[in-house]
């Protein structure tokens, strides 16, 4: 009888463009997030190729200094605010309600609103290119440079940047609220907090960071806007303001944002590693507490970006930064001991997950160096920092994203991605990534500063820069097998079935793709692995 009552709702589920534009279904919105983020990933990638092309050999050949500044500013902004953060929100959107056995997010219309602010914000950011120059003060937009209308950002690009980021930030806040209410209020019967899949935990902590940190960025952006347009005096020392105030408020958001950019990716590989090792996650509770610990410590380390200003209390921020390595190390043990003596199947999702593991480890280690104040004084604003942040955000988050794409594509479309093309993409992107970013460690140690369009040919940086450029194009080339894979497999891939990976969590208990209401019925939930319990009914309990 209950099924009969549902039929009208199911038949009202139209397909087509109108449906995609007006949908409030978390699964469609999740896919919209993912597609939108990939579009901006490619735009940001093109900007990165512009940077690498200019740096391939000494001299100014490809773009002049002003355009170069716009390239790296927009590359950073796009990748952070329009790719990584929304991409992970997209996976959360698709997977979290399914994993907790809910029919949708708590506020479906606010969910749609959060999504549609992103393309709008992105368009505002990129409009700068046709209104006399995009923002060019770096993605950090340090004041007073970002307020100077003669040195940087001659056009309206910087103001468009502020507006775009305010919209994207609002989207992030609303999304965080939506996730928190969904996770706290909509869990299926039996799904207690400590039976939630790890991805749900990481999205929970990420959402807390979004709700508490993003508004602080909004306040900073608004103050910058007032300074630029209404004659305010917040940040310009020449008129009584304090430049360091911008850095403090900006990093108060932007350091927690680092965890917004990586925690859900950690959650994703924590779903993947157990499935492909045929073992439960090693130390579930330790992982949960480590995630919460990272979230909490994340609010006390922002000034490690400002060591060289001499205006922050160095011992405290250095100590707290080192402390973050502890919960992160706990997670490393969780992952490694999940793999240890597991029955490993090296499918593409596991390859990318192990890629995450190894590259994030390097990124964590080279980050710990910069946490030491004396070392940081030497490395500040060199390519070492560029290497570090790409090892955590590309080697970490982006590899995690691709692991997630290969893992959940069958659920989203009902068809498997091709393993051959997937492995080809992994090999290309893994080699390309290391070829691009590993040399940057050496460049940084050799003193090459970041954010320069040109360098002296006798500085000894030529070969490594050329290697990095070749690596960059190899990364770009790895998108060819990826995109072919997606477009071919979407129509012609192997039929996935409900549960192609013999996985553990609830999203695999419904059809692929799931119906609009997600579940006809839910299995009984007695642990964090309800599907494992279902397959081994009666054993072990």
């Amino acid at each position: 009888m209950a099924t009969t009552a549902l039929t009208p709702a199911a038949s009202a589920y139209r397909s087509g463009l109108y449906e995609w534009l007006t949908t409030t279904d978390h699964k469609k919105i999740g896919i919209l997030y993912v597609v939108n983020s990939f579009i901006f990933f490619f735009l940001g990638g093109i900007l990165a190729l512009g940077i690498r092309t200019e740096l391939a050999i000494p001299g100014v050949q490809f773009v002049d200094g002003e355009v170069y500044n716009q390239l790296f500013t927009m590359h950073g902004t796009t990748m952070i605010f329009l790719f990584i953060i929304p991409m992970l929100v997209g996976f959360g959107n698709y997977v979290v309600p399914l994993q907790i056995g809910a029919p949708d997010m708590a506020f479906p219309r606010i969910n749609a609103l959060s999504f549609w602010m992103l393309p709008l914000g992105g368009i505002l950011l990129f409009l700068g290119f046709i209104t006399g120059g995009a923002a060019s003060a770096g993605w950090t937009s340090y004041a007073p440079l970002s307020e100077d209308r003669t040195l940087a950002s001659v056009g309206s690009g910087q103001d468009l940047w502020i507006m775009g980021l305010t919209l994207i930030g609002t989207s992030s806040i609303l999304g965080g609220i939506n996730f928190l209410v969904t996770i706290f209020k909509m869990r299926a019967p039996g799904l207690t907090l400590f039976r939630m899949p790890i991805l749900v935990w990481t999205v929970l902590v990420t959402s807390i960071l979004q709700v508490l940190a993003t508004p602080v960025l909004t306040s900073a952006l608004i103050m910058l806007f007032i300074d630029r347009n209404y004659g305010g005096h917040f940040f310009d020392p020449a008129t009584g303001g304090t430049a360091i105030l911008w850095q403090n408020i900006f990093w108060f958001y932007s350091h927690p944002a680092v965890y917004i950019m990586v925690l859900p990716a950690m959650g994703m590989i924590s779903e993947i590693l157990p499935v492909f090792s045929r073992k439960p996650l090693f130390g579930y509770k330790a992982f949960v507490f480590a995630t919460a610990g990272i979230g909490a410590l994340g609010f006390s380390v922002w000034a490690h970006h400002m060591f060289t200003t001499g205006l922050v209390f160095l011992p405290f921020f250095s100590l707290m930064t080192f402390l973050i390595a502890v919960p992160t190390g706990v997670k490393m043990f969780n992952w490694i001991f999940t793999l240890w003596r597991g029955k490993l199947t090296f499918s593409t999702p596991l390859l990318f997950a192990v890629g995450f593991l190894s590259m994030f480890l390097l990124g964590g280690i080279n980050g710990a160096f910069s946490a030491a104040v004396p070392v940081d004084f030497a490395l500040q604003d060199t390519y070492w920092v560029v290497a570090h942040l790409h090892y955590v955000l590309f080697g970490g988050s982006v590899f995690g994203v691709f692991a997630g794409v290969y893992y959940w594509f069958p659920k989203m479309t009902g068809r498997m991605l091709d393993e051959g093309l997937g492995k080809l993409q992994f090999v290309m992107i893994f080699i390309g990534f290391n070829l691009t970013f590993f040399p940057m460690h050496q460049l940084g140690l050799a003193g090459m500063p970041r954010r320069i369009a040109d360098y002296a040919s006798n500085a000894g940086w030529n070969d490594l820069n050329l290697a990095a450029t070749i690596g960059g194009f190899l990364i770009a080339a790895s998108m060819i097998p990826f995109l072919s894979n997606v477009f071919i497999s979407r129509r012609n891939g192997k039929i996935a079935g409900d549960d192609p990976w013999q996985a553990n969590t609830l999203e695999w208990a419904t059809s692929s793709p799931p119906p609009p209401y997600n579940f006809d019925h839910l299995p009984e939930i007695r642990s964090e692995r309800p599907l494992f319990d279902l397959r081994h009914r009666g054993t072990g309990h």
Binding site: A2, A5, L6, A9, G101, A102, P103, D104, A106, F107, I110, G176, I177, N178, L180, V181, F184, K185, M186, R187, A188, P189, G190, L191, T192, V211, L212, A213, T214, P215, V216, T218, S219, A220, I222, M223, I226, D227, Y230, G231, G232, H233, F234, T239, G240, G241, T242, L245, N248, I249, F252, Y517, N518, F519, D520, H521, L522, E524, I525, R526
Partner: protein, 214 residues
């Protein structure tokens, strides 16, 4: 179902429906606890607290780095004449009370009392906004007049924008209330809007204390 925690399904009046109908399973509220819209509003208020924290941080930063305070040459002295702003404060505090009376009224199912109190709240909110506009026009310094002008107008301006948002929110509540959409059982929107209004009130009290007294 045998949910070991017990709290999740047992004693749920919609239990038999929830078990078989996935859409009815949405109604987890029936197990008690805070409702989705109110939890959402509380979280939104948390984010708003952080937003104002950023602005307050800027104010205190300016104040801490400027000696003597107030900076000489900036012709204002809020501490000497807090009376007008005190009047506005009293208006807003009273509106918080009337807002809460409205909530209590609708909890009892008293729609007349609810509509009367919400109307008074909306009017008091508008009085506050008009008062603030008059204050701006007579205060004698502008946004670009030194660091104090910038922080003063940013803080009070964004608070005013929030009052404006609250007045719109309460007007919608009033309109829906007059259309008879709220009852003793169904008034989450009223509770959520009143929480927001109290928050706006508290921010003003913090602002008044900081700018006029401290």
């Amino acid at each position: 179902m045998t949910a070991p925690s017990g709290a999740l399904t047992t004693g749920d009046p919609g239990h038999s429906v929830a078990e078989h109908n996935p859409v009815a399973g949405l109604a987890h509220d029936s197990r008690g606890g805070i409702s989705n819209p109110i939890l959402g509003m509380l979280l939104f208020i948390c984010s708003e607290v952080m937003f104002f924290s950023g602005l307050f941080a800027a104010y205190f930063n300016v104040r801490a780095t400027t000696t003597p305070w107030p900076p000489p040459g900036e012709h204002f002295n809020l501490h000497a004449e807090p009376w007008y702003a005190l009047g506005l404060t009293i208006v807003l505090v009273i509106s918080s009370f009337t807002c809460q009376f409205a909530v209590w009224a609708i909890r009892r199912g008293d729609r007349t009392g609810f509509i009367r109190n919400i109307s008074v709240t909306v009017v008091l909110g508008i009085v506050f906004l008009l008062g603030q506009i008059y204050d701006y026009s007579t205060i004698g310094f502008g946004l670009s007049d030194g660091t104090f002008g910038t922080t003063f107008y940013t803080l009070t301006g964004f608070h005013g924008a929030h009052v404006f948002g609250g007045v719109i929110m309460l007007s919608v509540i009033l309109y829906r209330g007059m259309a008879g959409q709220f009852s003793a059982q169904h008034h989450d929107a009223v509770e959520a809007a009143s929480l927001y209004w109290h928050f706006v009130d508290v921010v003003w009290i913090a602002l008044f204390s900081t700018l006029y007294i401290l």
